[in-house]
Amino acid sequence: MCFRRLARKLPLPVENKETRPRIDLIVFIVNLLSERSLQSVESSLAHLHSDCFLGKVCFLVTDGELRATFNNCKCAHTHFCRCVLRRVTLSVSQTADGVNAAAVRLQNILTVSAGMSPIATTALYLSSLTRCSVTSDLEED
């Protein structure tokens, strides 16, 4: 059984701390063109324990913004943008099929993070497989 919770920002409210089940995956839905969105994500990241970054954090970006970012990343958080783009980033295209596909991919990541993959694979291992170790360089050569 999979529980999903939406939150505007971290940290989560203190009241429900005891009843909350273990968190397996944190997905940040980012709009790279919106200053507020980036600020909110940046500040929320500060509240996460460093262990979470070993495979339990994932960024979801809508693709229009991703493309636009590649062409003129004028946002103030350019460096942050590039860091975001290095983690497991799912880009969602705005079609219904695209949203479905992104949902399926999230589910695959979640299956591994929750420890339910058929042959035991840790979230850390999966993140090491999918990590983009070089920034994409779009200059023509």
């Binding site: 693709d63 229009g64 991703l66 493309r67 636009a68 590649f70 062409n71 497991v88 980033t89 799912l90 880009s91 969602v92 295209s93 705005q94 079609t95 219904a96 099929d97 695209g98 479905n100 596909a101 992104a102 399926v104 991919r105 695959n108 990541i109 591994v112 993959s117 058929p118 042959i119 694979t121 999966l126 497989l129 999918t130 983009c132 170790s133 070089v134 994409s136 360089d137 779009l138 023509e140």
Partner: protein, 716 residues
């Protein structure tokens, strides 16, 4: 004198025609009524044209109702059917001479839609009016944009080419500069490139900086005269010439479609590319591949033939040295005839222009604007990519602009949009140095692969298999031409040695090995994924024998063991075949190494790996002893005992293997216990791979299916 009288005749009443017909009314009333009716219908347009042709300089415009009426009449006809060539000449002259005022100049230009053809004299006259210099700037810009829009409809461009110098002189006008560059780009031929023109362009570039249109024009100059243009220019363009035809595009499409019944087109030689309906609102029209076929009366004393006028292969062959390329290079993509031309002639300027056009269209469509959800949008994009695929497969090589687009697109792709087309295009990517492979190809693919469904994983492995086959085929074709220094396709500047090539292939195979072994783990050895992987290794195992590439790479353990212990029989059979082929390749390689001093050398590790795998397989399947101490799959005896399986050591042999057990039972039910008969029975089920494997490695096997080298083994 004759001229003056003509003029006098023109100045006379516009209704002179009716007067002359009225005089015969008294005699033949019936015929007159018919004539009247016919003329009544045809006349308004003809009258209007005649009136407008007589408008002189200094005519009062404001409040001139008659002028306005005639303009409206002509405009209506233009927007519905398009205008015949003579009328276009006349109207262009009227507009650009400013005889009807400056407001009417832009107005006329806006509805100047040709029905069939634009005579080149009209354009030449127009350029001469441009030289007079009285037109306001926006009218000048509009005129040049109009020329660019109707460029493909101009009947012959020889005169335009002869006034190339005059057109070139306009590059100094800042406002006109981008459009003039585009026009020059379309007109330039070898003889037009001179050092003084290059110098002028470089001066302008120094002042204005690197503008995309200027760079493209210089790139084209460079193709024709590389000695004159020495600076380095990109071979692919990110931004191309913008489509300047927005003002006329929709109306022109409508007119052309109406006249399409009059257009002859030989559909058998060109792919039918559908025009998009003008009713659909779309802001960006990048993907509409302009139609290539359009027929008009060809002028027989032309020097060059337009590509769209050729109807048959024979015509192409006869005129192959006089071909002129269309302005919209994209229209070549769907036509087989045009592609034949491109392939034979290997015209660098054509490839350059096509790459520019492609790069620009792909960039605009997929990278700069977000995809909205409409299915029209996606199906149009789908068709566009399919056309590119068709072209690439026809030409047997990929375009460099498609390649660079794919690298950029992969990093923003969600793995779902237009998946089959993108993966097919990916498999067309030519060879690249191994350093770039990781950065450009592997990283984005890994991210997508490991988080997607098993079917996506299968598609990716299939795509990479197809890529490998293409690279190997290319190598075996070009290596046979001798020499170790193999240069890539004619349009690329990278050269590659044999060892560089082998590095790249090795990287690719290792990468697929990683993808496959991890993928199989994540998907619990899904049977489809396993089969795609084994198909890949069927290509890999024969690299030496089939493609003469001295490289032998064994499958990793993460692929070998899932296949060996698979529960479906096809996988086991395929593995048998693969091991059989590996053995053949290795034996031949060893023999060649010993006989002659070859430059290649198969490392001892490869042999060791193969022997290990071979041992594991033969021991499991033939000797009924899979758990050998010291092997990769040794499991502690106590653990095995815990499973409470009777006789665990023979559980993976030919009888008890989970994939083959059903056959053993079936055989037993039919005949009893004879071992040789069982072997025959089993291999008659179509397990050729397994049969060959058992035969070569153990000397036993079914005599009915003899080996490839035709040596029948006798029964023990």
């Amino acid at each position: 004198m004759a001229d003056l009288s003509n003029l006098a005749g023109l100045v006379s009443e516009p209704s002179g025609e009716i007067d002359s017909s009225v005089s015969s009314v008294s005699n033949r009333s019936l015929r007159l009524a018919e004539k009247e009716k016919r003329k009544g219908v045809a006349d308004p347009f003809g009258l209007a044209v005649k009136y407008l042709s007589q408008v002189e300089a200094g005519t009062v415009v404001r409040g001139n109702d008659e002028l306005e009426r005639n303009m409206v009449r002509v405009e209506t006809v233009a927007l519905s059917k398009g205008l015949p060539p003579e009328v276009i000449t006349m109207l262009l002259d009227l507009a650009l001479s400013l005889n009807a005022g400056t407001a009417n100049c832009t107005r006329v230009l806006k509805f100047l839609l040709p029905a069939t053809v634009v005579p080149q004299e009209a354009i030449v006259k127009g350029v001469s009016w441009l030289c007079v210099g009285k037109m306001p700037m926006n009218a000048q810009v509009l005129f040049v944009r109009w020329v660019l829009t109707v460029f493909d409809l101009i009947d012959c461009k020889d005169d335009l080419r002869s006034i190339y110098g005059f057109i070139f002189s306009f590059v100094t006008e800042e406002n006109l500069f981008p459009f003039i560059c585009h026009l020059l780009y379309l007109l330039t031929m070898w003889e037009h490139v001179h050092s003084y023109r290059v110098r002028k362009l470089l001066d302008i570039q120094a002042k204005m900086g690197r503008q995309p249109f200027l760079t493209q024009l210089l790139a084209l100059y460079k193709v024709f005269r590389p000695d004159l243009v020495t600076l380095s220019l990109p071979s692919r363009a990110r931004t191309g010439f913008k489509n300047h035809n927005s003002t006329w595009k929709v109306a022109l499409c409508a007119v052309q479609r109406k006249n399409k019944s009059a257009v002859l087109a030989d559909q058998s030689l060109s792919l039918d590319v559908k025009e998009k309906p003008s009713s659909r609102k779309r802001k960006l029209h990048h993907l509409a591949i302009p139609p290539l076929s359009s027929a008009f009366d060809s002028n027989s004393n032309k020097k060059v033939f337009r590509l769209q006028e050729l109807r048959s292969f024979k015509e192409l062959l006869e005129n192959i040295h006089n071909i002129e390329l269309p302005a919209q290079m994209g229209s070549l993509l769907g036509s087989a005839l045009a592609l034949h031309y491109l392939d034979c002639v290997q015209d660098e300027s054509a490839f350059l222009r096509l790459n520019f056009w492609l790069g620009h269209s792909l960039q605009e469509e997929f990278l700069l604007c977000p995809v909205d959800g409409s299915s029209d949008n996606t199906s149009e994009a789908c068709r566009f990519l399919s056309t590119i695929l068709f072209t690439q497969q026809f030409l047997q090589e990929g375009f460099s602009s498609t390649e660079s687009f794919l690298y950029k697109f992969l990093s923003v792709w969600d793995g779902c949009l237009l998946r089959p087309q993108i993966l097919d295009l990916l498999s067309d990517i030519p060879l690249m140095p191994s350093f770039y492979m990781h950065k450009l190809l592997f990283e984005p693919l890994k991210q997508l692969y490991f988080t997607s469904t098993v079917f996506f994983k299968c598609s990716v492995i299939e795509c990479l298999n197809s890529m490998l086959v293409k690279w190997l085929t290319w190598h075996s074709v070009s290596a046979s031409e001798g020499g170790l220094d193999i240069s890539l396709n004619s349009n690329s500047t990278i050269t590659m040695t044999l060892s560089g090539f082998m590095d790249s292939v090795m990287e690719l195979v290792r990468f697929v090995g990683l993808l496959a072994s991890e993928g199989l783990r994540l998907e619990n050895c899904h049977v489809l994924l396993l089969n795609q992987t084994l198909a890949f290794y069927e290509t890999v195992c024969d690299m030496f024998l089939k493609y003469s590439l001295p490289l032998i790479i064994m499958p990793p353990a993460g692929v070998f063991y899932p296949a060996l212990f698979a529960t479906d029989s096809i996988s086991v059979d395929r593995l048998g075949y693969i091991m059989f082929r590996y053995r053949k390749n290795l034996t031949l390689a060893k023999k060649q190494e010993q006989q002659r001093e070859q430059t290649f050398h198969i490392s001892r590790n490869t042999y060791k790996e193969f022997n290990r795998n071979l041992q594991a397989m033969v021991n499991s399947m033939w000797n009924s002893w899979w758990c050998i101490p010291g092997s990769d799959i040794e499991i502690d005896k106590d653990l095995i005992a815990l499973s409470k399986v009777a006789e665990p050591w023979c559980r993976f042999d030919l009888i008890h293997h989970p994939a083959l057990f059903s056959y053993a039972i079936e055989f037993h039910q039919r005949t009893g216990k004879y071992w040789n008969w069982y072997m025959e029975f089993l291999f008659n089920q179509g397990f050729d791979g397994l049969n060959n494997f058992i035969q070569t490695n153990t000397g036993h096997g079914s005599t009915l299916n003899s080996q490839e080298d035709g040596q029948p083994k006798s029964q023990p």
